[in-house]
């Protein structure tokens, strides 16, 4: 098996901590908020207000669940348009009350179905991309498992994007790539290698700021380490004006594929 495809398998494992594990271990007093105020409440995305070392923050996560029952409840972590609209509602609320936003990203992709198309999956993602770019509050996204295409990007237009050591972030699943390009989904291993979807690849490409080590993944020390990182990063991000924050975020993404380096 190629090294990249091994990472794909690890990233997809249902034994990995999910968004709700991060939320309960890093934050206190999480108060979950439901619904997009348009249509319904999407179980694939959880979100709410919590305290990070006593400071109120908005936390949003794509939740996959562990057991089969949980996975069904959370639609296997594939959000519908109402999930993205809920996330955006919470982000706009965070902006209003000057709360930083922290997103945990873990999805094989946005939900693929008739209803999702009827309710504008493309429009819902597009709106997240547009609005996140100019959100006047610090934003940090962490890819904790799978960063699957537009469905993951919709919650990742942040000032900082971090990836767990064994997480992946890709424009398309290796299986999808293999079946479209080579008409052979068994070539997924080769596709995984070619797509450069590992955390190390993303760091090398300048697409993410940091890789989070998976030493003692899921242990108290692991969460304590990540918590400290978040606290420190929010101090850095809060030290600049809101205008600089959105300008730096714009420049961060503006630099990708422009042949120039980010000045952030």
């Amino acid at each position: 098996m190629t090294e990249a495809f091994e990472k794909v398998k690890i990233a997809r494992s249902n034994k990995r901590p999910t968004a709700s594990d991060y939320i309960s271990n890093i934050f206190t007093d999480f108060f979950e908020l439901h619904g997009d105020r348009r249509f319904s409440d999407d179980g694939a995305i959880i979100g709410g207000i919590a305290l990070l070392e006593g400071r109120p923050v908005t936390v949003i996560g794509i939740e996959k669940g562990h057991s089969l029952k949980e996975r069904v409840k959370h639609a296997f972590g594939s959000p519908n348009p109402e999930g993205y609209r809920k996330a955006l509602r919470l982000m706009k609320q965070a902006e209003k009350f000057s709360r930083p936003v922290i997103c945990f990203v873990d999805t094989s992709g946005a939900f693929c179905g008739i209803g999702a198309e009827e309710r504008g999956q493309g429009q819902a993602i597009a709106e997240c991309l547009m609005e996140m770019m100019t959100l006047k509050t610090p934003t940090i996204s962490i890819v904790i498992g799978e960063g699957g295409s537009g469905g993951a990007l919709a919650l990742s237009v942040s000032n900082r994007v971090w990836m767990l050591e064994n997480s992946i972030y890709s424009v398309i699943s290796p299986e999808g790539c293999a079946s479209i390009l080579w008409k052979d989904s068994s070539k997924a291993e080769l596709a995984a290698e070619s797509l450069r979807l590992t955390a190390a690849d993303s760091l090398e490409g300048g697409l993410v700021e940091e890789i989070i080590s998976e030493n003692n993944l899921g242990s108290d020390t692991f969460y304590a380490g990540l918590k400290e990182k978040l606290v420190n990063e929010l101090i850095v991000l809060s030290s600049v004006s809101k205008e600089e924050l959105t300008e730096n975020r714009y420049l961060r993404f503006r630099a990708i594929g422009s042949g120039k380096k980010s000045e952030d």
Partner: protein, 285 residues
């Protein structure tokens, strides 16, 4: 019964060809409409803006569209020097780019520039369906981003024609990020009070639907165009349910509230010119 034995086997046995003027024996190529199955000479379809007499809209390349929409001689191309860098050295991609460029007129899947439509100045981008299915890689993202930044500086509206299979997977995560980059540029242009009109044409899917195609102040679509995020075949395989009639067509999106109007090619220039006029800054209070 044995007639087949005496059939001429080649032109010479038939007595040779008559000396006709060059080209006189060639019939004008015809195009068969996938909707009404009628064959029509290409020139006749082209005279009707690449639309069949039944109303079916054939695909159009970017230059044809620019010729159809812009006032004569008003279009100036911009950012044509922006080229992709094959950012992840994807196997076979460099070769694919080379052959695609050699076989067509365009060197990327979008043409950007400025021009006038019914005397209204605007920034224009037109995606190219015959270049890797209009897929968005770094060059497409960069050209469109630069166009919105340019239009913002010059306070111009933008008219964009989309046709795309989505993000170009051969450029990996770099192409996915173009969704965020272009959306950011659209947002800045929008926040400055400037007008953006999208014309969605067949087919517009994936990462382009989930970014700048759906971000216009006004979104119009050509009749019968396929517009969606996930591919219909993938949805059918995943859900194992029959898809509703007309699923992911312009008409379906209009019914569900995701586009403003369906405008046929014949009426497009007039409609676009009128919308641009209505958004001219000197015409607004």
């Amino acid at each position: 019964m044995l007639g087949f034995l005496f059939q001429p086997k080649n032109e010479l046995e038939k007595g040779g060809r008559e000396n006709l003027p060059v080209g006189a024996d060639e019939q004008e190529p015809e195009k068969t409409c996938p909707n009404c199955h009628k064959s029509t000479p290409v020139s006749q379809i082209w005279d009707n803006r690449n639309v069949c007499s039944c109303g079916y809209h054939f695909r159009m390349n970017a230059r044809q569209r620019i010729g159809m929409i812009c006032d004569e001689g008003s279009f100036t191309e911009l950012f044509e020097d922006v080229k992709t860098l094959d950012p992840i050295s994807f196997p076979g991609y460099a070769k694919k780019l080379e052959t695609t460029r050699a076989s067509g007129k365009e060197d990327e899947a979008v043409v950007c520039g400025i021009g006038r439509i019914g005397s209204n100045p605007c920034g224009i981008f037109v995606m190219e369906p015959y270049f890797m299915m209009g897929s968005m890689g770094t060059a497409v993202g960069e050209r469109i981003t630069r166009l919105f930044e340019y239009a913002l500086k010059k306070r111009l509206p933008v008219v964009g024609f989309t046709v795309s299979g989505g993000a170009r997977m051969q450029e990996g995560l770099f192409s996915l990020m173009q969704m965020a980059k272009t959306s950011g540029a659209v947002k800045r242009h929008s926040d400055a009070g400037l007008f953006y009109l999208t014309v969605i044409t067949d087919p517009t899917t994936g990462g382009v639907t989930a970014s700048f195609a759906m971000e216009g102040d006004v979104i119009i679509a050509e009749p019968g165009a396929t517009i969606g995020f996930a591919g219909a075949r993938v949805i059918e395989q995943t859900t194992r349910k029959p898809l509703p009639k007309g699923f992911q067509t312009s008409e379906f999106l209009l019914e569900h509230g995701f586009i403003d109007a369906i405008v046929s090619r014949k009426e497009q220039k007039e409609a676009i010119a009128m919308l641009l006029m209505m958004h001219r800054e000197e015409n607004c209070i």
